[in-house]
C-alpha cells in the first residue's frame, strides 16, 4: 500500500472512530440519566415539508404528526431507525436532537399519552374508511329493477382467499390437488365438533347472506374526542366482508385444496432446512393446527380471515416439510404498486443497497423463529414479511421485473374476488336512499374528524400537536391542577405554541432547548453531509467541492424520481447561494418550459419537476436554503450506521 493510501485509510479510520465515539458519548450520557425523551427537529427540504418537521422519540419509538390527505393530521409511530433512514438518509436532511431529562414516571405517562392518542385516532380513522367502504358497497350492490341495475357480475374481494382460489370464484370446491395437512385438520375439527359442524355453519352463512342487503349508518356518531376511545358498531361493509371471509374460510376448510402455484415463495437459493428446523416446523404445524381447531368454532364475527390465513400458512408449512426448503406465503397483492427505481447501472446499485438493508432482518428472523419453543404468530409474520421483502428484491434483479411494494399491515392478505350470484338485490328506490344515506354519513363523519384533526398552518400542525399531546398527558397527572405547573415540574418549563412563533419547527426546537431540562444536543448529519465527509477524507477538498457542487457530476446524489429540477446544491453554498440559486431558477424555468413539449410523453413529469424546481429556487435568491435533494437509495455502509444510532441495542439471538 502506498503512503498516500495509508493516509487515506488512516483518516477514514479516524472519522469512523470519531462517529463511533460521539455515539458512545451520547449513549453514555443518556445511560447516566434516569430516563430521557428526544425532541427531534428535521430540517426543511422540498415537498410536503418545506418548513421542516418535528418528532418526539421514546427509545425505539418515534411519534410524529403527518398530513394524511384531505387536510387531516394524523399521528404516526415509527421505528426509530426507520425514521432516521427516511429523513436523514433518503430525505437528506440533518436532524437536530435535544435530549430532555425526565423521571421514570414522566416518561411512562408521556409515552402512554402518545400511545393512547395513536390508538384512539387509528380507531377514528378506521371508522371513516368503513363508512367510505359502505358507500362503495351500496353503489355497486345489485338493484332489482333496471335501469339502475348494476352492470356485470357482482363480486367482492375476500382477504386471503387468493392463496387457494382464483378471481371470480364461487362457493364450488376448486379443482386440483388436495392438501394432506388441511384434510387432517378437517378430520380433527369433525372429531371435535361433529361431522356436520362445518357444513352446518356454511349453510347458516349462505342462508344469512342470501337475504342480507347493505344498510347505511344513519345514527350520527357520538362526539369524538382525542383521548376517548370510540365505540362504533360494525358498518355494513365490515359485516359483509366478515361474512364472506367466514363462508370462504369454511368452504376452503371443507374442500382442503392445495395452495395455488403463485401463492407462495420458495427460498430456493438459501440453505435448506436443517434437522432442528424441520423438527421445529413439525411442532409449529401441530400447534397452529390446534389453534385453528379452536378458531373454527369461535363466535367472533371476524374469525374468517384469521382462519383462511391460518389454513394457507398450514399448507405452506406442509410444503416446507415436504420440500425441505422454507416455503412462505407471497405477501404481495396482485395489484401491489411497483417501486420507482432508477434505470441502468443505478438500478443495480439501488437493488444492491436494498438487498443489504433487507437481508439481515430476514436472516435474523429465520434464526429467531427457530429458537422459539412454541409457535408465535407474530414471529412467523415477521419471518414471512422479512423474507418476502428479500426475495422480492432478488426477484427484481431479473430484467423487466418490477419491484413490488406492500406497505401497511404486516399480515398477508392476498385477496380473490368472490362472485356473489345469490346476493339479494335492492329495490332501486331503496338503493338510491341507502346510497344517499351512506354518502351523507361518510361526509358528516369526515367533517367531525376535520373539526378534531383538520390541519392549520399555525394552530394545528406537527409542532402544536406534539405539545398538545404532552400537555394532555401531563394534565392527567394533576386532576384539577394546572398542566402548566406539571410541565414546569416534570420538564423544567413550558413550551407554548399559541400566540408565539413556536409553531415553526426550527423555532420550537430552540424553545425546547430554552425551556425544558435538556441534557444534551446533537446533530445527525444528512446523507450528503456524511458522504462529503467520507470523500473529503479520501480526496483533495477542492476536487470534492467542485465535483459534488452540482447534480451533473456529484457522486453523493442518487436522485429520487420526485426531486425537482435543479443544478447546484445550495445547503452548503454560503455567500454563493443567491448566485447558484439564480442558475437553479433558470434551469427550473427551462426544464419546465421543455416540459410543455414532453407532456404527452411523460404525463407532465418534466413540467412539474421544472416549475417546482423554479419555485424552490426563489428562496435561494434571498439566501435561504430549503431544497437539499432526496435519494432514491443509499449505500449499505451508511445504512448500518443509521441502524446503530438512536435505537436501543438489541440482544444477539443464538440457537439452542
Amino acid at each position: 500500500m502506498r503512503p498516500s493510501q495509508h493516509r487515506r485509510v488512516g483518516l477514514e479510520r479516524v472519522i469512523r472512530l470519531l462517529l463511533v465515539g460521539l455515539s458512545m458519548a451520547w449513549s453514555a450520557a443518556a445511560a447516566a440519566e434516569p430516563r430521557s425523551i428526544d425532541y427531534l427537529y428535521i430540517e426543511a427540504n422540498e415537498g410536503g415539508s418545506s418548513g421542516g418537521h418535528v418528532a418526539l422519540r421514546f427509545d425505539a419509538d418515534t411519534f410524529h404528526f403527518q398530513q394524511a390527505g384531505e387536510g387531516l393530521l394524523r399521528l404516526r409511530r415509527d421505528d426509530a431507525a426507520a425514521f432516521l433512514l427516511r429523513y436523514t438518509l433518503l430525505g437528506n436532511r440533518p436532524i437536530h436532537e435535544s435530549r430532555i431529562a425526565v423521571s421514570d414516571d414522566t416518561y411512562d405517562r408521556l409515552r402512554a399519552a402518545f400511545t393512547r392518542r395513536l390508538l384512539v385516532q387509528d380507531a377514528q380513522y378506521e371508522h371513516l374508511e368503513a363508512l367510505e367502504a359502505d358507500v362503495a358497497l351500496v353503489a355497486r350492490w345489485p338493484r332489482r329493477a333496471p335501469p339502475e341495475a348494476a352492470g356485470g357480475d357482482f363480486g367482492a374481494a375476500v382477504r386471503a382467499a387468493g392463496y387457494f382460489l382464483p378471481d371470480g370464484f364461487s362457493g364450488d370446491p376448486p379443482a386440483g390437488d388436495r392438501s394432506a395437512a388441511l384434510l387432517a385438520l378437517r378430520a380433527r375439527i369433525a372429531a371435535a365438533y361433529g361431522e356436520d359442524f362445518v357444513p352446518d355453519r356454511v349453510r347458516a352463512l349462505r342462508a344469512s347472506l342470501a337475504v342480507w342487503t347493505p344498510r347505511a349508518v344513519r345514527d350520527p356518531a357520538a362526539p369524538l374526542a382525542r383521548d376517548t376511545y370510540p365505540s362504533f358498531a360494525p358498518t355494513a361493509s365490515t359485516t359483509h366482508a366478515e361474512q364472506l371471509e367466514a363462508l370462504t374460510a369454511l368452504e376452503v376448510l371443507d374442500a382442503a385444496p392445495a395452495l395455488r402455484a403463485d401463492a407462495y415463495r420458495v427460498a430456493a437459493d438459501m440453505p435448506g432446512l436443517d434437522a432442528h428446523e424441520r423438527r421445529s416446523l413439525t411442532r409449529f404445524a401441530e400447534e397452529l393446527s390446534a389453534d385453528l381447531v379452536s378458531l373454527a368454532a369461535s363466535p367472533r364475527p371476524d374469525f374468517g380471515y384469521p382462519l383462511l390465513l391460518g389454513l394457507a400458512r398450514l399448507a405452506a408449512l406442509e410444503a416446507s416439510l415436504t420440500s425441505g426448503r422454507l416455503v412462505l406465503l407471497d405477501h404481495f397483492a396482485a395489484d401491489a404498486p411497483a417501486a420507482a427505481l432508477p434505470e441502468g447501472g443505478q438500478r443495480t446499485a439501488a437493488l444492491d443497497a436494498l438487498a443489504a438493508w433487507v437481508r439481515p432482518p430476514a436472516e435474523r428472523a429465520r434464526q429467531e423463529f427457530f429458537v422459539q419453543d412454541h409457535f408465535r404468530e407474530a414471529d412467523y409474520t415477521e419471518l414471512e414479511t422479512a423474507w418476502n421483502r428479500w426475495l422480492e428484491v432478488e426477484r427484481a434483479r431479473q430484467p423487466g421485473t418490477p419491484l413490488r411494494m406492500e406497505r401497511g399491515p404486516l399480515l398477508p392478505g392476498r385477496a380473490a374476488m368472490r362472485r356473489e350470484d345469490d346476493a339479494a338485490p335492492l329495490d332501486a328506490a331503496i338503493g338510491r336512499g341507502e346510497l344517499a344515506a351512506a354518502r351523507a354519513a361518510a361526509a358528516a363523519y369526515r367533517a367531525r374528524l376535520a373539526e378534531l384533526y383538520g390541519y392549520n398552518l399555525i394552530s394545528r400542525n406537527c409542532v402544536s400537536e406534539i405539545f398538545a399531546t404532552i400537555d394532555a398527558g401531563l394534565a392527567e397527572t394533576a386532576p384539577g391542577g394546572s398542566g402548566l405547573d406539571e410541565s414546569r415540574r416534570r420538564l423544567g418549563g413550558v413550551v407554548q405554541t399559541r400566540y408565539s412563533f413556536n409553531f415553526i419547527p426550527v423555532v420550537s426546537s430552540a424553545a425546547v432547548e430554552r425551556n425544558y431540562t435538556t441534557v444534551g444536543r446533537r446533530t445527525l448529519p444528512s446523507y450528503r453531509q456524511l458522504r462529503l465527509a467520507q470523500l473529503a477524507a479520501e480526496e483533495p477538498a477542492w476536487r470534492v467541492a467542485v465535483r459534488e457542487s452540482n447534480t451533473l457530476t456529484a457522486t453523493a446524489y442518487h436522485p429520487d424520481p420526485r426531486d425537482s429540477a435543479f443544478l447546484f446544491f445550495t445547503d452548503d453554498a454560503g455567500a454563493l447561494r443567491p448566485l447558484l440559486g439564480t442558475a437553479n431558477l433558470l434551469v427550473g424555468v427551462a426544464d419546465g418550459t421543455l416540459g410543455l413539449l414532453t407532456w404527452p410523453a411523460d404525463a407532465g413529469a418534466r413540467l412539474r419537476a421544472g416549475w417546482s424546481g423554479a419555485l424552490f429556487s426563489l428562496p435561494e435568491l434571498a439566501g435561504v436554503n430549503i431544497r437539499k435533494g432526496s435519494m432514491a437509495y443509499v449505500e449499505p455502509d451508511l445504512l448500518s450506521q443509521v441502524a446503530g444510532s438512536g435505537a436501543a441495542a438489541q440482544p444477539v439471538v443464538t440457537a439452542p
Partner: protein
Amino acid sequence: MRAIASLLLGSSLVLLLGGCSISESSSNPFEWSSDSTGSSSGSSSRNRGEEYRNDVRQYTQAYVQSGGDFDTFTHGLSGIASKHGVSNWESDDNTYVGIGQGLKQAGVTTMQLDVWKTNLSKGDAKKAAAIQKGYDSVQGPN
C-alpha cells in the same frame, strides 16, 4: 427592486411555513422495507411480544374508561393485533396478559375482572390465568 425582494422573502416564508408534515404515500422501496414493527432495527420476539402487550394494555384501559361494550372491544382488539402481525389474537397469551394489565390500570375491581375473565376466556383456564397474571402484575389499588 423592493418589490422583487419582497416577493423573494414572501415566497421563502410561504415555502418555509408550507406544511411541516409529509403526506404518507411513498414509492421508495427503502421506506417500504422499513415499514414494519421492528424489522429494520432488529426487534426480538420478546420485544415484539412486549410491544403488542403494551398496546393491548393501553387499548384496554382506554376502552374501559370510555365505557364501550364487549362486542366492539373484541373487534378493536383484532385491529390492534393485526398491526403487530397477529391475526388470531385468541391464541396469543400476550393478548390476555395485556388485557389484564389494562383492566387494572382502568381501575376495574376484582369482581368486574371475573366477569371479563369469564367472557374472554370462555372456560379456558390458561387464558383466564393469563388475564389474572396481567392484572396482578400492575401495581395500584384493587
